[in-house]
């Protein structure tokens, strides 16, 4: 589904250039739950942002279902982010002046759905992440775990093929982290969604099928923990 070939991302140029990614190649199958691990500065967040079309690679190829997405113009990338990709940020990245429901249904409205339909989709997504009854609360009225679940609801409401999560439990305690990971696991197992998650917590890998590890911008290990095709059956 996703093919990455010799992906590079340099910051700056010449001798002082920082090589955040230095020739990373791998493939991800549909329905995989993948963790990207590595120490700070290893390039895992950079890789995730490039995969989610939030950043550009300096060199290399990146295709989703055979489409060379890295070279798409911004308008198409924007449409791709809206319709095909869900992204869960480490710091939730919710719009503070929007309620939980509004944070979610703004995307459905962007897709052209009516306000009523968008609202229903948002309620369904929020219910899925156990936020029933908290639809009208603004982010400031929610706990960290609840905010992250709103962010997940926003990402899953449009039923994207691929979901990216950048250290989604970094600001959460163990209890909330487990809740979030359970949501991901359920989405992956029940709906066959491809999930790519950056984490540095070893215990998170209990939830995933495969772990790739980066060091100094290079892929140093690729470890399979289960068979994705088993889950989609």
């Amino acid at each position: 589904m996703i093919v990455v070939k010799d992906l590079k991302r340099y910051y700056g140029s010449g001798g002082t250039a920082v090589k955040a990614l230095n020739g990373v190649s791998f493939e991800i199958k549909k329905g995989e739950f993948l963790a990207i691990m590595g120490a700070s500065g290893s390039g895992k967040t950079t890789l995730l942002r490039i995969l989610a079309l939030l950043d550009d690679a300096t060199a290399g190829e990146y295709t989703i279902r055979g489409l060379q997405v890295s070279s798409l113009p911004e308008a198409e990338r924007s449409y791709y982010r809206l319709t095909q990709v869900g992204y869960v940020f480490q710091d939730y990245a919710l719009i503070n002046e929007m309620s939980a429901a509004e944070n979610v249904y703004v995307l459905s409205m962007m897709e052209g759905k009516s306000k009523k339909e968008s609202y229903e989709i948002a309620l369904e997504a929020l219910d899925k992440v156990a936020l029933k009854g908290k639809h009208n609360r603004i982010p400031d009225e929610l706990s960290g775990g609840e905010k992250q679940r709103v962010a997940i609801a926003r990402a899953i409401a449009k039923k994207p093929d691929i979901m990216f999560a950048d250290e989604p439990c970094a600001n959460l305690d163990t209890g909330n982290s487990k809740q979030v990971l359970d949501v991901f696991k359920e989405l992956n197992e029940k709906h066959g969604q491809t999930i790519i998650m950056v984490t540095h917590e070893l215990w998170h890998t209990n939830y995933v099928d495969r772990v790739i590890t980066l060091e100094d911008g290079k892929l140093i290990s690729d470890e399979k923990k289960g068979k994705p095709e088993d889950k989609t059956k």
Partner: protein, 403 residues
Amino acid sequence: MINDIRVGSLIAYCSVKRGNKKTLIFIIFVLSLIFMNLVFLPSMIGGMMVLFTGYMQDYPFGDVVIEPSGDNTYINDADSVLQKVRAVEGVRAATKRLDVGASIEHKQNIVGVAVTGLLPTEEYEISRYPYIISEGDFLGDLSRDEIIIGAAIAGTSPVFGEIYDDLGEVRPGSLVDVTYSNGVKKTYKVKGIMEGTFELVDLNALVHYKEIEDVYGLEGSKATSVVVRVGKQGTEEQVQDKIREAGVNEQVFTWTDKSETLIKQAMQSMGAIDVMSKFVSLIVGAALILIIIYINILNRKKEIGILKAIGITPRSIVLSYAFLSMFYVSLGILAGLVLYFSLMLYFHANPATFYETMEIRPVIDPMLLIQSIVTMLTLSVIAGILPAWSVSKESILKAIWGR
């Protein structure tokens, strides 16, 4: 595009609904002052225009004025013109006048003046001259060798006393020597002092029409102007046309025609101030609106990055700020209108006083208000779109994380 508008509206709506109310009130207050700045001074200047043009109607020109055609100095048969004019429907009163140049001397003080020869009893229906006599009496039909002198020349004006040369306290009963432009010198007894608190009046002198006729040896009822008052204000142009149709071949002007050539010339410097003030107000207004919206947008730069990251189109984001900006400015205009009309009410009850006696009441000009509202709204759209467009063009990473 429809989706962009819907999403833009939703973002703007949420921002207003849950944004900081104190900031909103402050922004609206500043915008209302910008609007006031655009409309208040022009309204005051408009009030001055009305005041001055009122003076022009009440003294030199009436509602319609007939002047000699071509290079002629006089209307040759003014009585015939008067007869035709008085027969015109809509004319309330008409009279003839003779304006000449002269100098007046009293106790070795000499002042240059315009002397108007008029028919005193007819002036009661035409002008306010008979009603502004501050000392002594107005002329009568039998007034000969008598003169009415403006307060600024007489030296009794508390308003213009320190501005113009005068005759040094001339009072009713004083004798003055008048030397006309043709060299004829004549002594007059001052019958009255007129005080109109308007330079064109208070620097003038009035004598009986017959005096000028005699001094200049005019025959056959000549006049330098025939002044007409209409029965109903606003019908000046219709009366002007009817006078022409009645066979009057002299030049026929309405008071607005004369105001355009005279008052507007006099008001040119005021007009320049008006234009400059509007221009500066617009520039300051545009800059302020831009700064307010730009600061607002900079505070929401991360939000813009997030919206882009989740797939909201830059067009929706830009539109949301245009809507937001229009909303702020609309409320600012509303608050500005309340402030403006409150000030209008105040100044109508307590007019600004000019030269101690001239009361200036601001004029509400609907066109000016419409122009200012349209200008502010246009500025608001530009002010909302420009910074939002500039931020929405930044990379997502830079907008969210500043790199």
